[in-house]
Each structure stands twice: as structure tokens, then as C-alpha cells.
């Protein structure tokens, strides 16, 4: 019934090489937690996490496990359960490089790659310490005569291409099109990534493109390099529209991860 070859989770994990820029979806976009744990088991190193625009437990676990050398994000947090303890510890002790950013800049940098332009302009941000510390950002005076204010300073952000993106989704159709609903930031992430892998709860024996409305809910298979069926693949994070986050579990993590030892214990239990 499927027109694509299903991958095992291991095959996806094996696509992630040390030093890769890995795309990280926000907690509302389908966090691939099962994949993340396998990645940690494999012991991948020096990942550069590019968060659109933030990460929660996924980023904190990867950092705590020593898989990360650099992270670009607008926030790393456990949301209602407080700060991301392994992230904070790693930054405070200089173990990882954090490229502090702001949500719209993270979107715009991927949109630049989506359009294959060298940069994307953004308003705001100027005068912040975020801007001051980003040597890869550049301010020009607006050169346009017909738009904006002549000579107003405009921030230019570089195009960023991801080496690999992995996210979790409710389902694919038989042709490998992925249901993303209105989580359209996943399309931007995919467009800006060299390779894209998706874990799904299930594969439906239908073709999303047979109906204009269901077509509107999907990321086309042409951007997807491989799919693996992984039940409860986002747990304990939510899969929007399918299941909620397991708040008990996240709270448990947030308490355990306050110390290195607690984190170690937790990871032993969870891997």
C-alpha cells in the first residue's frame, strides 16, 4: 500500500553525523522524543541545535547528555515547569555556545534559505544586546527610495541551512506526504533543510492530494527523505491535536535534572 520505503528509527538516527546543524521544532510543532533518546544512546557529538524558535525537554536532554556544542535559540525552557536546568548549567559553565536570538529572526533566517537569498531583512532588534553579540548579523541603511524610510537602519540576517531536520507528526499518507495541519513552521524548517526525516504515529492508506482540503494540511513528500512509524513518538511532549503533554513526566524530569546526578538517574531510567 505504501509507495515509500519505511525506515527504522535507527536508520534515521544514523543519518545524524557529529557536528551537524540539527533543526529543533518547538514544543507545539511535534517534538521527536523517541528519536532524541535514540540519538543520545548513539552518543552523537558536537551537534549545533537550531531551534524554531525554542526548545524544551528535547534540547535540555541533548545538552545534558553532552551531544551539543552550540545552540541557536530564542529560548530554552521547560515552560510551566521552570527553567531548563541542564541548559542553564551548561551555559553558566561555558560548556556550550549559545547564539542568543529572537523568534522572528530564527524564522527569517530559514525563510532566506527557503527563497535561496543570501539574507533576510528584519525590523526591530536594533539596539538590543542580542544584536550586539551577533557578529553574523549586519545592519545597513535602507537603500530603497520607494519603500520604508530612506536611510533607516535595517538588520540583515544570514540565510541558515540545516543539515538535517527530524520532527514527529500525527501521520503520513501512503505516498509519504506528512500531515502538519497549521504547524506551517514545519514547512519552513523542511524547505531550509538538506535532509528531512519524520517519525509518525501511523501511515494512512489515502492520498492527501486527492482532496484540496486535506492537501492543505500536509508537507509534500518531495521534501521528505524518510519516514519511520513510531508510536507515542513525542512523549512526554504533546502532539498537537492528537495527545497532550504528560505533565507529570515533565515535572519529574524538571526536578531530577536540577542536578547532574539527578539527570543521570533520570536518563538511565528513560533510555
Amino acid at each position: 500500500m505504501k509507495s515509500f520505503d519505511e525506515l527504522s528509527l535507527k536508520e534515521i538516527v544514523d543519518e545524524v553525523q557529529d557536528g551537524f546543524i540539527l533543526g529543533i521544532p518547538a514544543d507545539y510543532s511535534g517534538v521527536p522524543m523517541k528519536f532524541t533518546k535514540e540519538l543520545i544512546k548513539k552518543g552523537v557529538k558536537n551537534l549545533k541545535l537550531y531551534c524554531l524558535p525554542l526548545t524544551t525537554i528535547q534540547g535540555d536532554m541533548l545538552i545534558g547528555s553532552g551531544c551539543v556544542s552550540e545552540i541557536e535559540a530564542a529560548a530554552v525552557t521547560l515552560g510551566e515547569f521552570g527553567m531548563a536546568p541542564r541548559f542553564s548549567e551548561a551555559v553558566e559553565n561555558g560548556k556550550i555556545l549559545i547564539k542568543d536570538s529572537t523568534c522572528p529572526a530564527l524564522h527569517a533566517q530559514l525563510q532566506a534559505t527557503e527563497k535561496s537569498v543570501p539574507f533576510m531583512p528584519l525590523r526591530g532588534v536594533i539596539g538590543s544586546d542580542i544584536q550586539k553579540h551577533r557578529k553574523d548579523w549586519h545592519v545597513i541603511q535602507n537603500p530603497m527610495r520607494s519603500s520604508g524610510v530612506r536611510e533607516e537602519p535595517v538588520l540583515l540576517l544570514p540565510a541558515v541551512q540545516l543539515d538535517i531536520l527530524v520532527f514527529h507528526a500525527p501521520c503520513s499518507d501512503r505516498n509519504g506526504n506528512i500531515q502538519i495541519g497549521r504547524r506551517r513552521e514545519l514547512a519552513t524548517l523542511a524547505h531550509a533543510s538538506k535532509k528531512v526525516f519524520v517519525t509518525v504515529e501511523k501511515v494512512l492508506d489515502i492520498d492527501f492530494f486527492e482532496d484540496e482540503l486535506s492537501a492543505a494540511t500536509c508537507l509534500p513528500a518531495l521534501y521528505v527523505n524518510g519516514i519511520s512509524i513510531v508510536k507515542n513518538g513525542a512523549w512526554p511532549c504533546a502532539l498537537p491535536g492528537v495527545y497532550s503533554s504528560d505533565n507529570e513526566e515533565i515535572k519529574k524530569y524538571s526536578l531530577a535534572a536540577k542536578t547532574k546526578e539527578g539527570f543521570g538517574e533520570y536518563m538511565k531510567y528513560c533510555l
Binding site: 529572537t102 524564522h107 538590543s128 542580542i130 504547524r183 506551517r184 514545519l186
Partner: protein
């Protein structure tokens, strides 16, 4: 009837008062009190036959967007959002906010989550309400350690938006853009100006219309507890449980 108003309910009520002229209020990450305030204001607007649109990002139900996570920022930049809320690990007298951490960046001492979308939203939303419950010399500082988003900008910078209010659990300030300074506007009934001066790390003016924070009336409290609380529990279950036991 003893209303027994909780601290959080008072804050929700204060914030709701600031939204009366709005058409579209948006609420970002980890903001249960602003979220509840926006829904309360929306409910009350109905009685005046007005329509207030509320977008709460962390809710599926109250998220009006369909263009992905960037739409909040695009929508705000287009001038389609009247009020947004921002917090801060530190906030200083020029309304600079710090969401990143304390100490000398990048050698940070205590690291917090990060700047979120503040560095754009602060520039483009006409009414930014700063909200930080803790009112102390530790949170309201002379000069923030890191500027996630500046309170004021050079003249040539595109900036239709900016800070209008700062609410803590002790006081409400207005921000005067020309003087680049906060002005004390309303204070908690248990509070004195003198004590607030002691508890605030930055200099501020005292508004000549200064008054006490009004307690929400029975009507408002009823709406809040009976109608708004269950809505809030959809997207902030921990908070709703703690405040209203639901």
C-alpha cells in the same frame, strides 16, 4: 459576601483594565495571568457590544493563526495587534528588559530561558505591558545586565510600538516615552510610595493621578471564577489548578 480576592486575581483585574480600547490582544508563552486578563476583557467587552479578539499562542482554541509560528510576529509587525505582554528577569528605569540572565554576558552567572520574540514585539506593538510579579531591587534594576529589547530607540529606528505600562504585584507604572522614565500610577492598597522607592532599583516619577489599585467588583470576580477560570485551565492547567483548584 467575602470575595477573598487572591493576589493573582487582582493582577488579572489590573491588566484587564488596560485592554479596554483594544481590538486585538495577543498573549505569548508562559503567561497565565495576562492570558486570563485578555479573556476577561474579551468577555466584558461583549456587554458593551464591542469585539475584542484574543490570541493565546499556547492554546489551540484561542490561537487565531494558521500561517505557522511566525504569524504572530508578522501580524504584529503589520500593526494588527494592539497589546502584547512582556516580562523580564530584570527591567530597568529606561524600560530595557532582560530575559537572558544576570552577570556579564556572555559569561553569564545565572542563565534564564532567553529573549523569545521580545526584540521584535517591543518595537511594533503600540501598547506593550511589562509584567513582572516580583517587585524588588533584584528585578527592577538601575541598568539591566543584558538588553533583550530596549525600552527606547534612536529616532531613525522604525518603532511604532513600545512600553506603556509596568505591572508588579505592588504597583502599576506608566512609561513616559519623552522623559524615558516610569511614573508610579497605581499602588496596592497595602503599599506606600516610600516603601516602593526602597523596593525599586531605578528612579521613577510619581503620577499626579496616583491612586490605589481598585479591587475587582463582585461581577468581575464572578465572571473570572466561573467563566474564565475553566478556559484558562485548557492552556495553563497547573496555574488554574493552583489558583482556582480546577
Amino acid at each position: 459576601m467575602n470575595l477573598n480576592i487572591q493576589r493573582e486575581e487582582l493582577l488579572i483585574s489590573q491588566l484587564a483594565d488596560l485592554l479596554k480600547n483594544d481590538k486585538h490582544v495577543a498573549v505569548g508563552a508562559a503567561s497565565p495571568i495576562p492570558g486570563a486578563a485578555a479573556l476577561l476583557a474579551k468577555e466584558e467587552a461583549k456587554f458593551l457590544n464591542k469585539r475584542l479578539r484574543v490570541t493565546i499562542l499556547h492554546s489551540n482554541k484561542y490561537n487565531n493563526f494558521t500561517d505557522g509560528a511566525r504569524e504572530l510576529f508578522d501580524c504584529a509587525a503589520q500593526g494588527r495587534i494592539d497589546t502584547f505582554f512582556l516580562g523580564g528577569v530584570q527591567i530597568d528605569g529606561q524600560a530595557n528588559i532582560n530575559l537572558v540572565g544576570t552577570g556579564k554576558y556572555p559569561k553569564i552567572k545565572k542563565r534564564f530561558p532567553g529573549s523569545f520574540g521580545s526584540a521584535l514585539m517591543y518595537f511594533v506593538v503600540p501598547q506593550i505591558v511589562l509584567f513582572r510579579e516580583e517587585h524588588s531591587p533584584r528585578t527592577l534594576v538601575k541598568k539591566v545586565d543584558f538588553i533583550s529589547a530596549p525600552g527606547v530607540s534612536e529616532k531613525d529606528v522604525y518603532r511604532p510600538g513600545g512600553p506603556k505600562y509596568l505591572l508588579t504585584n505592588r504597583a502599576l507604572f506608566r512609561f513616559n516615552k519623552n522623559l524615558q522614565k516610569f511614573s508610579l500610577y497605581k499602588i496596592n492598597e497595602k503599599e506606600t510610595v516610600k516603601n516602593l522607592i526602597k523596593l525599586t532599583g531605578f528612579d521613577f516619577d510619581v503620577d499626579n493621578k496616583i491612586s490605589q489599585m481598585p479591587n475587582p467588583d463582585t461581577n468581575r470576580i464572578n465572571i473570572l471564577r466561573n467563566k474564565i477560570a475553566p478556559m484558562v485551565s485548557e492552556f495553563y492547567p497547573e496555574f488554574a489548578n493552583r489558583i482556582w483548584g480546577i
